[in-house]
Symmetry: D2
């Protein structure tokens, strides 16, 4: 390992996504034989004090309070963007312009226009770019893709995808940034709907070509979060308007002719992170639920579904880990993502999902919003 080339990483943002990305950067080299040795150079955040504390805890060598400084540091070759969607485009474009490689959290941007600008920037920049749809790196999801590629389920007829959560069922849950359109771009649709669109496209190798949609905001006013209200931890009685969807349902067609249904909601009480996808083909079927992330269910030729515990060395990514039956957790999807990203950088390959893949997901989300606004009319996804 001592003779691997070091590569400096700068990360912007240290909330949920920043914490899990940090763990991936910290761990990836201990499990995978990598051509590049990531060095956790610098973390950027707005508050000096908090950013420095986060850097210390998460293992970053330095802290910056301006992402522009980070993007231009000589000891940074990779910029990892873990901020809300409203700043993705600006940071990514600046980082690419500075010659850096960029990995950007999903959804790629809050608007199609921003995403298009990012794709253009990526196309003309020397650095590699990747959008962090981490669920592609669940070993069971990657195995599903492998089975489809090998033709084991034949021609695909149905995709049935859901992403069900329940963290805002309580009307007293506050108006956090994810419920504000200017910050988050969209609600359940953008945050979790984007994941199942990407997963459906990844596993099937097809594109969503048109959709018909319904969206809904069940709770229209919520208490302001303490921070938004300019208050301390004691809260406030002021309320604000939820400006994003609470749930989005859409049905559509894939480029290969399959019918697909999608549902993203934060109001499925009892479902915590049920990112689920089932695919039915002419030769077999596959089924996955992230709440049991180490399992892939496979039916061949109409037989019963086999529960494959995706922990065998021949399963994607799994030769790096533990003996069969010793499962992985959520964080390892990021470890795999960063491993693949580093390998792409080292070999000069284009990492996937690319910014263009992220843009395509964005266009599906835009078509969903347009259809929902337009009486659920079937709406083609822009090419």
């Amino acid at each position: 390992m001592s003779d691997r080339t070091a590569i400096g990483v700068g990360m912007v943002g240290y909330a949920f996504m920043g914490r899990v990305h940090s763990q991936a950067w910290r761990s990836v080299g201990a499990f995978f034989d990598l051509p590049l040795a990531p060095r956790m150079a610098v973390l950027a955040g707005r508050s000096k004090e908090r950013t420095e504390a986060a850097a210390a805890q998460l293992g970053w060598a330095a802290a910056e309070t301006d992402w522009r400084e980070l993007v231009n540091r000589d000891d940074v070759q990779i910029v990892d963007i873990c901020t809300p969607g409203d700043s993705h485009a600006e940071i990514a474009i600046a980082a690419l312009a500075a010659g850096k490689h960029v990995i950007c959290e999903k959804p790629l941007a809050n608007t199609v226009a921003e995403a298009e600008a990012m794709v253009r920037a990526a196309a003309s920049a020397p650095g590699k770019s990747m959008v962090a749809f981490n669920y592609r790196r669940v070993p069971a999801v990657a195995l599903a893709r492998r089975y489809v590629e090998e033709g084991r389920i034949g021609e695909i007829r149905h995709v049935r995808a859901q992403y069900l959560q329940d963290w805002i069922v309580d009307p007293e849950f506050p108006l956090v940034w994810r419920l504000q359109k200017d910050k988050a771009g969209a609600g359940a649709l953008g945050d979790i709907g984007s994941h199942i669109v990407d997963a459906a496209e990844f596993i099937t190798g097809q594109h969503v070509v048109g959709v018909s949609a319904l969206t809904e905001t069940f709770i229209k006013e919520r208490p302001l979060a303490a921070e938004s209200a300019g208050l301390g931890a004691t809260g406030t009685s002021a309320t604000g308007t939820v400006t994003v969807d609470d749930a989005a349902l859409f049905i559509g067609r894939l480029s290969g002719g399959a019918l697909a249904s999608f549902e993203a909601t934060r109001f499925a009480y009892g479902r915590k992170n049920a990112m689920r996808i089932e695919i039915n083909g002419s030769l077999g079927s596959l089924s996955f639920d992230f709440e049991a992330m180490n399992e892939l269910w496979f039916s061949a030729g109409g037989g019963g579904f086999e529960r494959i515990l995706v922990t065998e060395p021949e399963h994607p990514y799994m030769d790096a880990w533990w003996p069969p039956g010793h499962g992985l957790g959520y964080e390892h999807t990021f470890t795999h993502e960063i491993k693949d990203f580093l390998e792409a950088i080292a070999t000069g390959a284009d990492p996937t999902p690319s910014f263009a893949d992220g843009l395509r997901v964005q266009r599906v989300l835009a078509a969903v919003e347009q259809s929902a606004a337009d009486g659920s009319r079937y709406t083609n996804v822009e090419d």
Copy 2:
């Protein structure tokens, strides 16, 4: 039991539905303390020989080759219609006109117009009428309804219903009557989609008020069935056109404001009779899958889902059966249906689901077909 009033039953049709109805008529009195003792008087079918053999095997005292004779027999007070949908209206209307009680297999009819005529006939007739959406009588489904009525899941936000089968994935599967529009009215939509629409309305106590839909016929030509081709068991190379949908997907809204998604397909390889429904409310959730028909899953307040084995004496219908843990099967949904029908007749109550309930389902199916034909536009369900 000896002092119960006997009531004569005549059944039309002796295929799949006829067999299971017969078992219910034969068994119901041994388990439920009924006010009326059904007498299996007569079975009608087209072929004399086959009808007589079926009557002997299934326990009917006599056989008729013309349903009109059956409908007018003095020893028949109840007419049970187990034929394909294209003859429901004619038989039911005649039976009602003859003063009989009528229980009719689902879907109520092949067209809204026929269903409307049936509802009119039922409204003015002395006899009771019922449409046989048997899944309402799965104890777990009835328990789900009870939980909703008791307010245990609160205000309903989501309904997620699927009916997945796989019996026609093989393109060599022949063009049976269920794949012909003139006989069956519709394909997966009418046959199994109708069940999940009814179940959603039953459990929630709400109506589907509008839908946006996609339908598809994956295999457009199929070998003629031996019988249709005028041939013996050796088959034929002739093919015919599938004139119904193979799959139907629709999303919509319920009268109480919930979002709903429905999928009916015969192309979900590995799913045999997966009639599934999940309902998420403001206080809890319920989930059911007919492939594990003795289980209802219930989450209270966002907690984990409890697997309720619906075999306790306090569960719907279950005090008539076995000790806890000794589950029921498909046939018992019919036993329960007939028990409820007989009780309604005896007490003068109106049995449910009524023909009007069946008509409402028919109108949902019609709205689905119209939406699918009209670019998936959101289509209101006729009142």
Copy 3:
């Protein structure tokens, strides 16, 4: 069907077992093409009034208050014994002596001596005899046996069998006959432990050759049941001693070299009728739980377990029933049992499980009791 030979049946006892046997006798001919047409001739019980009411409800043509009368009636060719274990031997031996065929509920008897007498009687009588271990006729269990016979799991290494119930966890549950040694012979061991011993022997085709055991009675005094106390429904404060085991655990060896573990208990809170068996072999494994009775789980070559929905026409007994995915219930195990018994009578074959099979189970239970009494010492099962 009209030309089938009728065969008269007399049943002794009309409680839980009598009710489910009646349903089987009533239904079997409608589903299976039988060489013999059972006629439900006569039911015997102690109370004239209750027996007549039961006969009327369950469909028996006549009632007797003395089983000896029943056994000697000319219109009875089959005697079906559904009484507690203390009367099995006497009734069965008398019925065999009278030239009748006998089907007897399990366990075969309350003692090995009684069971031996029954086997001797069966050996010298013209009638056929069968002990009613109905779980052999769960289609999934029969399929497990078929897989073992076909060599699909190879040489058997492990059997892991449990029968878990919870109906006497409450210390206020009364001292019913099943908790009294003179009536029931044993507790959980005899009632449900016998089923898993039989199932293990049936599926593996091997015998239990020795055991080491622990038994326990957790609640040693219980309220007398109203009936036992000579009281009405209002109960009593008198208590009596539980004279049977509440739970029995034993480990042992099979004739083919496998290790086996067995557990029978009525104190597994939340488990209602969890009759479970898992078998691991050199080529694969099988797993079954009666609480999901339509499923068999099969692992080939160490791969994931496939959930086989045992509802396909090629599965045991299933071509008589419904389309795939339309499951069976508890009662159908009895329908299958009686179908097989009638076929054996008609063809002159020896039905299984035979009285000798029942005796062998009895000897295993006796070895369990002896081992438990003898410091869990490994105790050979008598040949």
Copy 4:
């Protein structure tokens, strides 16, 4: 974090256990607010080259080829023992004598005598000591313990524990060290049986007081592993004798009166790491299977089992991790273990499981072996 006291760690062994311990040492500080900051000072192994490579990959600052050097280094305050069981006692006793804190992989030792010596050494040494039964730190297992402590399942009647694997079903699998008594002490019994004994004692808070056992070695001769045979990767036709058990079954009693059954095997084809435990009490039941490690199943009052997704912030250890529904993996049990160990060191508390707990498990294993050798006679566990 910068003001935390650093504490140096030296680890012996870098195979499976060493790899996962390393990841825990590396990660623990990023998730838990610890009073001590572990410094990964030195790794010891036999081969200089391999140890140095492992140290580089796993993040240890230095390498030693003699564990005695490691144990005496000034920059080491904690010794982490990840070697096979035959060296545990020697290393642990030396480390304790050198004033170090010691965490030792399970089973504590290969013999009761060694374990006793370790307990004596621990009792008189200033350092803290802990045996690494990591399954106690599965959040679902810790939650089960909490439920028992809170009285939620009442008085315990049954423990049903299994640890099922399948990695040596193939008779061609070589004679690795885990199959040699001199290295491993025991087979499935010591390696995985020890885990379920510890888990049963931990969750119930009771001790195993006596056992009756059967053990078996199904495959008695195996190919020598390439290394053992003094050969390269091409293998060998030489075989050697398996000197440990392949499977161990035992039943027994707990100090509180419960009945318990245990099974440890490496021959359960299709079960990869099925470490399972179910506990039935007078008020409820708990059930766990490591193959779905983020789930705990709980039945209250005989109701259905609730699937608790153990990912809520109020669940043990889970406030340090991700939002609900984002599960953990195998490695995190070690992170939790080390977090608890560091906290015990900092506060002066005695960490659990202690060496005395490890000794008690060892004595259970010894009683199992003695019973198995002695006709399965019930054998008291030494106090």
